[in-house]
């Protein structure tokens, strides 16, 4: 167990932390009480395992894969997947469909059809195969998404109905929602302040350290602290960052990334490179950050109107702050 290093006197009750891989990305955990670390880890792992079994698009045995396979008919699902779907549809409703779980088919058509580590490897292999090699991937066929209203959740029967040809992807919302659930569960189990980060989407629960939780905001959650960005503190709620600078791959000679505009089915325009948003929960922060990338030039006014502190970075590195984001 390691006590984390900090040169800040107000953080003398230093949190301790762990890092591991789950949900196809990195999970980080911080707790205020060193003795509670393993208990918090168990709670977080339990939550994430259950969510992975329910919501993964890349696990053959996941419920979501079964739902997507049975598109065109109704499928009974667990309460956990129902809640994840409800959360995804709530995000779609709050953004007029800018964050839409029915982008699954568009992502597959764009070449994002497997776990990203495998995709990165395939992309690198095909890039290194030489000019004479035949590209192993089909031509990109872009199409707009069917729309979140096409998904029917039937509470009475506990089932979900997808129209034929529709595939769901909960990647955008499920990680942030999982961070909220995991932080709440861990804080409850260890009765202390907890911070959970899943692929850069961060949720806090319980009492924070005296100086707050320190977070370095940057393009890529895997970066170290020397990466360009800003270090801030939060005390509760959530913070999420969406970026077009990560999860990039080559598909049939085109540079692709994972933030899809549901209206076109194509990766979003390059108005912003990275958007970070603070909100009352990580799920809400993630919805706002992803929608901001889709809304492009209109994002700043929208975030300001909602009163969500946000930091938007343009492709040239210039930074725009709204709604009280600190300098």
């Amino acid at each position: 167990m390691t006590t984390l290093l900090t040169d800040r006197p107000e953080l003398s009750a230093a949190p301790v932390g762990l890092r591991w891989k789950a949900l196809g990305t990195t999970v980080v955990l911080r707790v205020r009480e060193p003795d509670a670390l393993r208990r918090a880890e168990s709670a977080v792992r339990r939550e994430l395992d259950a969510i992975d079994r329910a919501c993964s698009r890349f696990r053959e045995d996941s419920e979501l894969v079964a739902v997507n396979r049975r598109a065109g008919s109704s499928t009974r699902v667990s309460p956990l997947l129902r809640e994840a779907l409800r959360e995804a549809l709530r995000g779609a409703a709050l953004t007029d469909g800018d964050v839409d779980p029915t982008i699954g088919r568009a992502l597959v058509l764009a070449g994002y059809d497997r776990d990203f580590e495998l995709l990165e490897r395939t992309s690198a292999d095909s890039a290194g195969a030489g000019a004479g090699a035949t590209p192993p991937v089909p031509r990109v066929r872009v199409r707009s998404c069917p729309g979140w209203q096409a998904v029917k959740l039937v509470s009475r029967t506990g089932s979900v109905h997808l129209p034929a040809g529709v595939a769901l992807d909960l990647g955008s919302s499920a990680k942030a929602w999982a961070a909220d659930r995991a932080a709440t569960a861990a804080a409850r189990d260890c009765a202390c302040g907890v911070l959970v980060g899943i692929g850069g989407d961060i949720a806090a629960a319980g009492d924070p350290p005296p100086g707050g939780w320190e977070i370095h905001v940057t393009d890529d959650h895997r970066s170290d602290l020397s990466a360009p960005g800003q270090t801030i503190t939060i005390r509760s709620g959530g913070l999420a960052t969406s970026s077009t600078a990560v999860r990039r791959w080559q598909h049939d000679g085109r540079a692709m990334h994972h933030i899809i505009d549901p209206a076109t089915g194509e990766p979003v325009s390059n108005t912003w490179r990275t958007v970070s948003v603070a909100a009352g929960s990580c799920a809400d922060a993630n919805i706002a950050a992803t929608a901001a990338l889709v809304r492009a030039g209109a994002a700043t006014a929208w975030l300001e109107r909602l009163g969500l502190p946000a930091r938007l970075v343009a492709p040239d590195g210039s930074v725009t702050r709204v709604a009280g984001w600190p300098r």
Binding site: G97, E214, T218, T231, G317, S318, T320
Partner: protein
Amino acid sequence: MRNHTTHTRDASLRRLSRINRWLIAGSIVLTGVLADVAANAFHGKSKASSSSSGTKRTSTSKSSESGTLTKPEQSPEASTGSSGDDSSSGESSSSESSGSESSGSESGSAESTESTESTESSGSSSEESSGVVTSGGS
């Protein structure tokens, strides 16, 4: 004979009146059912339009503008012990622009940043040596 004709007429009028009432009620119910079927048959769409500063989205629906994305209880604060913040990458003076502040710049992008993930093994956890957590795209 005359009595019989009057009775017949009155009975026919009552029958017609009843039929009319049923027809009106039926058409109201049918209108409702058809409206519900039509509402569920076609999903709404967001309308995108272009502007000079990039793609700007306008919405056909105002439903989401009620703003139920929850604000944080407290806004984030600048960290006093921060490293690698905007000021270290050449922040310029701020200016107000349509309700938002635009300032500073940061160089580099994800492609140029260093990954710390290579030391992690899937499933097993490693202890952290820094109290600062990174929030970035994933």
